[in-house]
């Protein structure tokens, strides 16, 4: 079963994402910042990582860069959860190696739809 890693420093956000996806039948793990997420990612192979951009200890972009350096995560879908949708921000994310993005605020349907698209 594909495991999803949801990374966000806001507990409510984290919980919303985890709850929504679990209700849709997905298996979800949580991390409160990039550093924790990176450790978890090295310990087990996740099929999808959803990461907020602004986080303490290691922000989302750095996490994505770090993950792309790991052999297991070369082609893994990594999605940014971001409040900003300017072309510049999108470019930054892509440059770091992100697969795509989801713009906050998003509703549960959008979240589930996107994840289903990505994971098939």
């Amino acid at each position: 079963m594909t495991r999803i890693l949801a990374v966000d420093d806001s507990p409510s956000m984290r919980q919303m994402v985890a709850f929504t996806l679990k209700s849709a039948g997905f298996d979800v793990a949580e991390a409160e910042d990039g550093a924790v997420a990176l450790k978890m990612a090295q310990a087990e192979k996740f099929g999808l990582v959803l990461a907020d951009v602004n986080m303490p200890n290691m922000d989302g972009l750095s996490l994505v860069r770090a993950l792309r350096g790991l052999p297991d995560y070369k082609f893994t879908p990594l999605l940014m959860l971001t409040t900003e949708s300017t072309p510049e921000k999108k470019m930054e994310g892509k440059a770091a190696g992100a697969t795509g993005w989801l713009v906050k605020p998003f509703n549960p349907e959008q979240l589930v739809g996107t994840v289903q698209r990505v994971l098939g």
């Binding site: 792309r68 070369k74 082609f75 893994t76 879908p77 990594l78 470019m91 892509k94 190696g97 992100a98 697969t99 795509g100 993005w101 698209r117 990505v118 098939g120």
Partner: protein, 659 residues
């Protein structure tokens, strides 16, 4: 440092006018239903370039005006302003205004300030409101089978961002029925292939009512990691993305369709340099002189003993070949594709159709056919008039057309092709065609001379008679019938001919035949008395020495020669040119049968001298037009020889016999 920059002004103006042409052509290509980023960018870059140059060289009025257009285009190209026909029309007007402004700046004359102010205000007004799409009249066309054709070519690194084309296809498949086909392209063998690299590209067909936004959305994450083109599948009437106001936009039906044999060229990186036409003309003159000198040498060499002078004669023969090739090559530098002429017609047809309230499409074929620059310059006006004529009088309005079971949109076709030593240009329409009975009646009414029995082709030719017009209302578009006879005269002045063909109710075609170049002629030299004249080889059919029973005198009309079953009027060139010397009876002379404008005449000469290519020299430059003479040339011995205007002879003599 104004003085320093002035040397660049000429280039700036040349570039700017070229940019305006580019912008105009691109504006006419734009279809409001399709967001064609590249075309809009082309227009933007053109405006941007003109503005930059104008600002640099101190043409502030131009810079300021262009700035507004540039702003509008910038919004359009970034997708912030939706494409709308009123904007396109406004930009076309801006192009016209810029033309005037640039011309005024270049010539130091006064610009049309009223027009500039008006268009500038319109641009400012447009910028201050979001693009408003007025409800356009819908055409009664079949409902579009909608859907999209998508060309998707991921860059090799696509996988590295964790993206997967399959995912995208799945998303698309959720919008409608999807067919995906890989684009055939060379793939590395399995052992050489890198599984982390994307080698494939696809053409996808999506049925259904998905909007452009929905389709584009599926590719949102990979926009910059692929080459993507999304096209609606029914280009003529496409219901594009629903505009915010909820009004349906239907594209206005003026599209320029290119026939299959001319593939629009993408920007070719061809190396070229600009050369002033005076330099080319000087070059052509010099080559012309070379041809004459070489002909003279050849002639002198005829008197030499071939055995003793073998090397010299071989050399001269080589010189002859080299000169011919040089001449062809130099003439080719002045050859331009017909595109130069055809390019102004999309705009003309668009504006005129609009003004007349008719729906018209323009089809051009053979734009790449080449023609000498001097001929191109002179054929422009006649073609202009013929196209206007077709639009004005030939094509019916939509209601009449539909009532007649025709396509509501009329078609005007411009065609150019080479045929032998000539270029054939056709202007055709699928309008109401020519009414021979009406033409004949009108001709009689206007006192235009008509024969008792005239063929259909001859009746159509009456349209070219001076003072003729069958239009029910004379419009200011194509004039009072003063146009057609001037058109014919202009074409004849180029050494060409014009014919009309028509199918009543189905349309009419004007066919213009022109020599490829004005400067060189294949001629037959003939001797009459002390003089040598040149007959254009293309008009010569045959030559013979008539038998006594072939020659007949017709009372009051002259002499005719029977050639097979035809009786042809006989013209003694001695008479025609008022040359001294005794007249010889035809059966003791040589007769050359020539043809022009579909009619034949027999010319009586003393002897056939030879055949040669001659350089045509103008008589009118220093003298004036001479009846019966179309030009002059210089023979190998330095003498001037006159070139016979066969058409003039034919016209005069075949009429007098027919009467």
């Amino acid at each position: 440092m104004n003085l320093d920059l002035e040397r660049f002004h000429k280039t700036f103006f040349e570039e700017s006018f070229e940019n305006l042409d580019l912008a105009e052509a691109a504006l006419l290509r734009l279809d409001v239903a399709v967001f064609d980023a590249e075309t809009i960018n082309t227009i933007f870059r053109a405006a941007h370039s003109i503005k930059g140059g104008a600002a640099t060289f101190g043409f502030s009025a131009v810079a300021e005006f262009t700035h507004h257009a540039e702003t509008l285009l910038d919004l359009m190209r970034s997708g912030k302003r939706q494409l709308a026909q009123p904007d396109i029309d406004l930009l076309l007007r801006a192009v016209d205004t810029l033309h005037g402004l640039l011309g005024a700046a270049r010539d130091g004359s006064a610009a049309n300030l009223a027009q500039v102010a008006e268009v500038q205000q319109a641009l400012e007004a447009a910028l201050s409101r979001p693009s408003v799409v007025p409800p356009a009249a819908t055409i009664a066309a079949a409902p579009a089978a909608s859907g999209w054709r998508i060309r998707f070519a991921p860059k090799p690194d696509l996988f590295r961002s964790g993206n997967d084309p399959l995912r995208i296809f799945r998303a698309l498949a959720a919008l409608g029925e999807l067919r995906a086909e890989p684009v055939p392209q060379p793939l590395p063998g399995l052992s050489a292939a890198d599984p982390e690299t994307c080698y494939l590209a696809w053409t996808l067909e999506l049925d259904g009512a998905a909007t452009l936004a929905e389709v584009a959305d599926c590719f949102a994450w990979v926009e910059d990691e692929c080459d993507l083109a999304i096209e609606p599948r029914q280009p003529a009437v496409a219901e594009g993305m629903p505009p915010p106001t909820g009004v349906n936009v239907v594209a206005l039906p003026v599209a320029t369709v290119r026939a299959a044999d001319t593939v629009p060229k993408t920007a070719e990186v061809a190396s070229s340099i600009r050369v002033g036409t005076e330099k080319i003309d000087a070059l052509i003159n010099l080559v012309g002189e070379l041809v004459i000198t070489q002909a003279m040498l050849t002639q002198l060499a005829e008197a030499l003993d071939p055995v003793q002078n073998e090397k010299l004669l071989n050399g001269l023969s080589q010189l002859d070949r080299n000169t011919r090739m040089l001449q062809e090559a130099v003439m080719a530098t002045r050859m331009l594709p017909m595109e130069a002429v055809f390019s102004r017609f999309p705009r003309l047809v668009h504006d005129l159709a609009s003004k007349l309230g008719k729906q018209v499409r323009l089809v051009t074929v053979g734009e790449q056919t080449e023609l000498d620059k001097s001929v191109i310059e002179k054929i422009s006006d006649p073609l202009n008039h013929l196209v206007r004529n077709s639009l004005d009088h030939g094509l019916e309005n939509s209601e009449s057309r539909v009532a007649a079971g025709k396509d509501a949109v009329g078609t005007i076709t411009l065609k150019a092709a080479h045929q032998g030593g000539h270029i054939v240009i056709e202007v055709g329409d699928d309008g109401r065609g020519l009414d021979a009975a009406r033409i004949l009646a009108k001709a009689r009414e206007k006192g235009v001379p008509c024969g008792e029995t005239m063929s259909e082709a001859e009746i159509y030719q009456l349209i070219f008679a001076p003072g003729f017009s069958t239009a029910e209302q004379v419009t200011d578009v194509s004039g009072r019938g003063v146009g057609m006879d001037v058109v014919k005269r202009n074409i004849q002045a180029l050494g060409g001919s014009v014919e009309l063909a028509s199918r009543p109710g189905r349309g009419a075609t004007v066919t213009i035949r022109l020599p490829l170049t004005l400067a060189i002629l294949d001629g037959m030299s003939v001797g009459v008395g002390e003089e040598i004249f040149i007959l254009p080889l293309s008009s010569v059919i045959e030559s013979l020495q008539p038998l006594p029973d072939q020659v007949k005198r017709v009372a009051d009309a002259g002499t005719v020669v029977r050639v097979r079953n035809e009786y042809l009027p006989l013209v003694d060139l001695r008479d025609w040119f008022s040359l001294p010397g005794a007249r010889r009876p035809p059966q003791e002379s040589i007769v050359v049968i020539v043809e022009a404008e579909g009619r034949k005449v027999a010319l009586q000469i003393d002897e056939l001298v030879g055949q040669q290519q001659v350089v045509i020299k103008s008589l009118e430059a220093n003298y004036r037009r001479v009846r019966g003479v179309s030009g002059a040339t210089i023979l190998g011995d330095g003498r001037v020889s006159l070139i016979l205007d066969v058409a003039a002879v034919v016209r005069l003599f075949s009429q007098s016999i027919a009467a």
